[in-house]
């Protein structure tokens, strides 16, 4: 089989921090938070009332899930002039949505959302469902298919509309959401790796990447944002809800990714962490990074964007990949907002307070799904 170089030539991001990639990136560098208190959750009398809402597409919009995804896809394809039928489509649309509309319970099937998006595109159509790792796996599968010459180009990523009272209730028993406390500042509800963290904040969002072979990008004279040089997958095989304390599954995943990229840990300039803000998740991830990177963990900057936009579930990996791409192209690592007092068990080279100009060229982005599916991907700045 051939081994082709794979690049990213377009991105689209819809998040609590804006309607496009540039809005997300500039808000992250400014240390802004998109998390706010949501009146509909307050009205429902729920113990959790904060979330990363996408305000650009109102909550009661019909087919909101599809529209959010389409907006991100359109941005990624902007000016590309691709015949969409020549593109594969590898996407995660998350979970079925129980949405309340006019007192009726409307069920939007995630599969239906996927199918309606997929009809625009060619082959293959893969709907990825590996929980919080879905967005990263969608991009990684696209990378592998292009690398091996199966396809030339693909739209990959994910979307998630989950910030409904029903899912707030549904996730509550799993003890992973950040509960309200009296007098709290909603923008500080999610604090990845911080000693005072109390879980993650649900969010909506969509992230899309246009992934293609280097040949294809050159042929059409496209602007190359970064190269994808490695991808890896593993399973914890440990527990349905929690990772092992030593992060062994995550560690295996990162090692496989480095191996796929033929890189040493010293060649990774920055890490975009999964960093959800849960006690067990943060500690396992920190342990995995320290274990994999050995002595070099002390000089490899780590940041998580979930404090700023919340956990966008099946689109989280795609939105984080977009941020990793921006880090590759600018060298700047955004801060982990709300991280003020690092947990000693989460000791890493955290980017605290403000962004860091690290001249980062090679960036690792990690995603670890509930249930133990782990994915990681490496992007590298391209010089040509």
């Amino acid at each position: 089989m051939t081994n082709r170089r794979v690049v990213v030539t377009g991105t689209g991001a819809v998040s609590a921090l804006g309607q496009n990639t540039e809005e997300l990136w500039s808000a992250l560098l400014a240390g802004k938070s998109g998390i706010r208190r949501l009146q509909r959750l307050v009205d429902a009398g729920l113990p959790i009332t904060t979330g990363g809402e996408v305000t650009a597409i109102p909550y009661d919009t019909c087919n909101r899930d599809r529209k959010m995804a389409q907006r991100a896809i359109n941005e990624a394809l902007k000016n590309s002039q691709f015949n969409l039928k020549t593109l594969g489509f590898i996407w995660s649309t998350g979970l079925d949505i129980f949405q309340e509309q006019n007192g009726n319970l409307i069920l939007h099937r995630a599969g239906s959302c996927f199918s309606s998006l997929a009809t625009q595109f060619g082959k293959p159509n893969l709907m990825i469902a590996t929980a919080c790792a879905s967005g990263t796996q969608a991009i990684g599968e696209a990378y592998w298919l292009i690398k091996k010459g199966r396809i030339d180009a693909c739209i990959a990523g994910g979307s998630s509309v989950i910030l409904t009272p029903f899912y707030v209730i549904g996730f509550s028993p799993l003890q992973v959401l950040s509960k309200d406390i009296e007098g709290d500042d909603p923008t500080k509800s999610c604090r990845p790796f911080d000693k005072r963290r109390r879980g993650f904040t649900l969010a909506d969002g969509a992230g899309a990447l246009l992934v293609e072979s280097l040949q294809s990008a050159k042929r059409r004279n496209a602007t190359i944002l970064a190269e994808i040089i490695g991808f890896g997958v593993s399973q914890d095989a440990y527990d349905l809800n929690s990772p092992p304390n030593d992060g062994a599954g995550a560690c295996l995943c990162i090692k496989r990714t480095l191996e796929d990229a033929s890189l040493k840990t010293t060649e990774i300039d920055a890490i975009n962490a999964h960093g959800t803000g849960t006690l067990v998740g943060d500690r396992a991830e920190a342990a995995a990074i320290r274990s994999t990177f050995g002595k070099t963990w002390t000089s490899t900057p780590v940041s998580s964007i979930k404090g700023a936009i919340g956990h966008a579930m099946s689109s989280a990996g795609a939105l984080e990949a977009i941020v990793a791409l921006k880090t590759c192209s600018t060298g700047i690592v955004p801060p982990t907002i709300n991280l003020e007092v690092p947990d000693k068990e989460c000791e890493l080279d955290h980017v605290i307070g403000r962004y860091r100009e690290a001249d980062a060229e090679t960036v690792l982005s990690t995603s670890f799904g509930m249930g133990g599916q782990n994915c990681a991907i490496i992007f590298r700045r391209i010089f040509d």
């Binding site: 979970l95 199918s115 009809t119 709907m127 469902a129 590996t130 091996k148 799993l174 399973q235 599916q373």
Partner: protein
Amino acid sequence: MIFLTTSAIEHNLSTVKENSPKVWRQIRRFNLPVQLALAAAHRVMAYATDPSQVALISIAPCQNGSPAIFRLAHAFIDRLENNRNDEFRINPTYSLHVIDNLALSSLSIAFKNHAYCLGLGGAQGQAWAGLEVVQDVLASGRATEALLMAGDQESSENLTERGTGVAALFTKHKTRYENSDKSIQIKNIDRTETEEFIAVKPHSADGLAAFIDRIVNRTQKGCFLYNVPHQDTEGYEKRSIEMEIT
């Protein structure tokens, strides 16, 4: 080119409850589609050379959820309409009924499997995309054996015990099917998009089960083409699978 090592189709969980209490304990808290997929997968994994190294590919149900989840959702809406602010509780087990990757998790835990995995979502026609992934995984050398599993139910809204679970184990090396004297080889999967969309009833497992049933029970040797019935496709494609039985 890949070879089918073994397969299993499950419609009924009573045999699992009676004959495989250990497996039942592992799967009982999930909703029906996941239970059926896992019941089939456990049967198939018994034939794997090394179950811890098998690549796992699962397809989530198109008819997701469970009657319990639907009852809770309706109760919640009722509560909102009546402005009741009393605490609303949900059984943690029911949370598991809406999460679509747990068949993978459960199987990986049961077999201490850290290998490559992929969960595909509950969109119509993903079974054939999954079969293509199996081909790619084995061809690229990411694994030498791969399991494809799916489970679905007739309806998640009504109290039903009707559903299908299916699992198939594939290998890149020529092998005989289970204990028979025949080899079943998948040579190629072809997809052509059609102009017209004809609606289908989404179901993750029925199409794959029908395909497995047909090829396993075929006695005639030689090459043949399995044309996927329209109701088992995405709705806007023609699928055919080139097979050879030797």
